[in-house]
Amino acid sequence: MKKIYDFFIGVMNKYTTGVPFLIWGFYGLVMAVFLIIFRDYPNVRFEKLLYVLVLSTVWLIASDVTKRRELFNKKIHFIVDSLVYVAIFSAIYYFTGGSRGDLSFIFSLIAVSAPLFGTWIETMILIWASGMVIFGIDLTFAFRGDVSLDHYHIGSMILRILVYFVIAGIIKYFQINYLKELEKAKEFQATILEKNKELEKAKASVDDQIREKTKELQEQNNYLENARKVAANILEDMMESGNKLQEQNSYLEDARKAVVNILEDVAQSEHDLSHKTLELEKFQQAADASFDQIAITNPDGIILYINDAGEEITGYSKEESIGKNPGKLWGGQVARDVYEKMWNTIKVDKSPYAGEITNKRKDGEKYLASIRISPILDKKGDVKFYVGVERDITEEREAQVQIIRHAAELQKANVSIEKQKESVESILRFLKSIGDGVVATDMEGRVIFFNEAAEKLTGAANEKAIGNYAWETLYYFKESDPKTQIRVIKKFLAGEEKFNRVSDRLMLKRKDGAVVDISFSISYIYDKNKIKQGCILVMRDVTEERELEKTKDNFLSVAAHQLRTPLSGIRWSLEMLLGDDVGKLPEEAHEVVENINENTMRLINLVNDLLNVSRINMGKVIEPASPVGVVETISAVLKSGEGFVAKNKVKIVFDNDNNTETKVFISPQHFFEAIENIVSNAIKYTPELGTIKTVVSQKDGKVRIAIADSGIGIPKKEQEKMFSKFFRAQNAIQKDPDGSGLGLSVVKSFIEEAGGTVSFESEEGKGTTFFIELPVYSESK
């Protein structure tokens, strides 16, 4: 079944367009509908409907939608289509016994399918033509008497034709849309074709470019090829040159070898020569080094060689002397017979001659020479050379004369020296009898004088001490550190220490090991031109004094202790009373007890002050000194006195002028107390609302602390006694009757002990400024 169907479709496709079939089918259906609607009309027969249905089905089947891609307006196809349709339809009609009506039906169909075949006009013409044909057929049959052409008949025909027009219009409308779609498809296809063409063009142009590039590359290759050939040529040339060079090299090598041989020969001769030269040089050096004149002459006395000394002595240069006769130069100053004697000895006797002769230098100066000439003989015994050695002995001779003269003078001087010696000895005797030990040294520290007392003190003998360094005999040390020797004289001479405090004290270890308390002083010895010659140290045994001091000190301590014991009892008892520890103290009693308390405090302070002053007086070594911060201490003092300041309602100003790092070398305790004393005085003697100003400044290695108050001042006539012990100015006594008068003397001692000074400026009623100056302590020490 399928094969027949496919064959049928194939035939249809090949010779027709598929589209009409579809349309025909559709028309058939339309006709069927038409027939059904008009079935009551006389010529409409049921068989026709059947025909139409069958035919429609056949055309539909035949139209196989997929074949519609064939282009529709191929005119040949549509003519063939039409003929085929007509043929097939007629055949079917004929064999199925159709009537006239059926023929007109055929042409109706044609009319209806007219829109398929072309433009509107073609379509209308075809419909009109079909209509006319139908009408013609009907007219024919009417003539044959088969059909009556009545109004109904014509009317129905016209109606049919009108219907055909309408249907055709509808169908045409759909067709045109369809055509439009097809048009678009065609355009699209056309665009694609164009694009294809463009691609082709592009491909073509790329191909061209490739071809061109290939051509270029080809050219470059050719060019490179040429270059390579050229390079190859050059290389060949280079190879050739290389070969030539090689030849030359070997030639040079041969030449070099020849030269080396020659040089070796030369070197050998040189070596021999230099050897001989060295020997000669050695001789010449020896000769030139000599202070004596050395001359070598030939047998006739012509100078062949003369040394440097010869030049100096005679005044004639080597050039001037060589080749000449010495007699003509510096000789010929003495009598003939001297020369005759000389020549006789050396020429005839052929033996050395020694003597003294006067010569004359080039500048005319005469000089005395000691002369010695030796002949040098050859193998035969003939004189080959003369060697002469001369020495200028003019000065020597002169000196000898002088010495003799001096000896006579010395003899005279000796007598006066003896006298002087006697006086020195008596001085020495005086010195010896000095009770203190006296040691004098030179600037090196070597002992030049060591008296008896020194011997006694040190236990060392004078002979042992003299000439040796002082510190070999004198072993000084600090009581606190017996192992470390303090070389006092060495330090003093080196300028390391001044030891200028009145009576420096140290310990001395004697030769026998015993230890002595020594007080000493040391100073420079100057000659009459004020130049330092050495130093002199005077020392004294102060052991006994020390003992005495210790006793005094002990006594003071004990005294202080005895005074303090009842005082502390009184003080604490008063504290208990005032603190209501032994029952409530009556109001009236309070004041009295307070009074007692104040006086007790005065007594306690007095005891403390007395003890301090006495200690200082005895020159006791008190607190050890150490580097102390100036600003630190002042700040501490001001802080500790804050209560006192507030009570007295004064203002404190402190200007440290950036000296925060400045230090001084002093006992911290003493420094604190000294500052405290001055500051507390300043506060005490300044009325309320006054100002105390403290300024720290530095100049020339000294730090200066100025404490200025706006207080009662010190009257001019009382100023000079200010630092005396127990002294108090009248106005001070009035302001504060309680002071002991010891404060400033203590301050003075403390500060002076550290190498500083205390001073003041004051105007009564205006105020006082105290100045404490101390040397600045620097770390480098």
């Binding site: 301590s557 202080a560 202790h561 014991t565 604490w572 008892s573 504290e575 208990m576 520890d581």
Partner: protein, 125 residues
């Protein structure tokens, strides 16, 4: 603590002793008194005080000796000792500190309130 802290006073001045006992007892301390060095050592061994206020100038044995013996004794050396004296020599102070005392106070120079403060300070540790 049930037991109040015990302070031993070594002092030969009877009047000062009165001040010590009155004031220190008031503060709540237990006070033992020795009037010479020998007694001080004996009491130290017996009562094992927490703190000793010791005078220097005492009969039989002085404060230096007492301090020395206290610090030489393994049992007693832990007791803190404050020297209260009226000597003011640097050497005495140094000697005392070298022997192991906690502090050196000159009695006449301090109010008694300071002594109380010291007691509290060393008993608090």
């Amino acid at each position: 603590m049930n037991n109040p802290p015990c302070i031993l006073i070594a002092e030969d001045d009877k009047f000062l002793v009165k001040v010590y006992t009155t004031k220190l007892s008031k503060e709540g301390f237990q006070v033992e008194v020795a009037s010479n060095g020998e007694e001080a050592l004996k009491l130290a061994r017996e009562k094992n005080p927490d703190l000793i206020f010791c005078d220097l100038m005492m009969p039989i044995k002085d404060g230096f000796e007492v301090l020395k013996e206290l610090k030489a004794d393994t049992k007693l050396k832990k007791i803190k000792v404050v020297i209260l004296s009226n000597l003011s020599q640097e050497e005495d102070k140094k000697r005392v500190m070298d022997l192991g005392a906690e502090e050196y106070i000159v009695k006449a120079n301090v109010p008694f309130s300071e002594v109380i403060a010291l007691a509290k300070k060393y008993l608090a540790k």
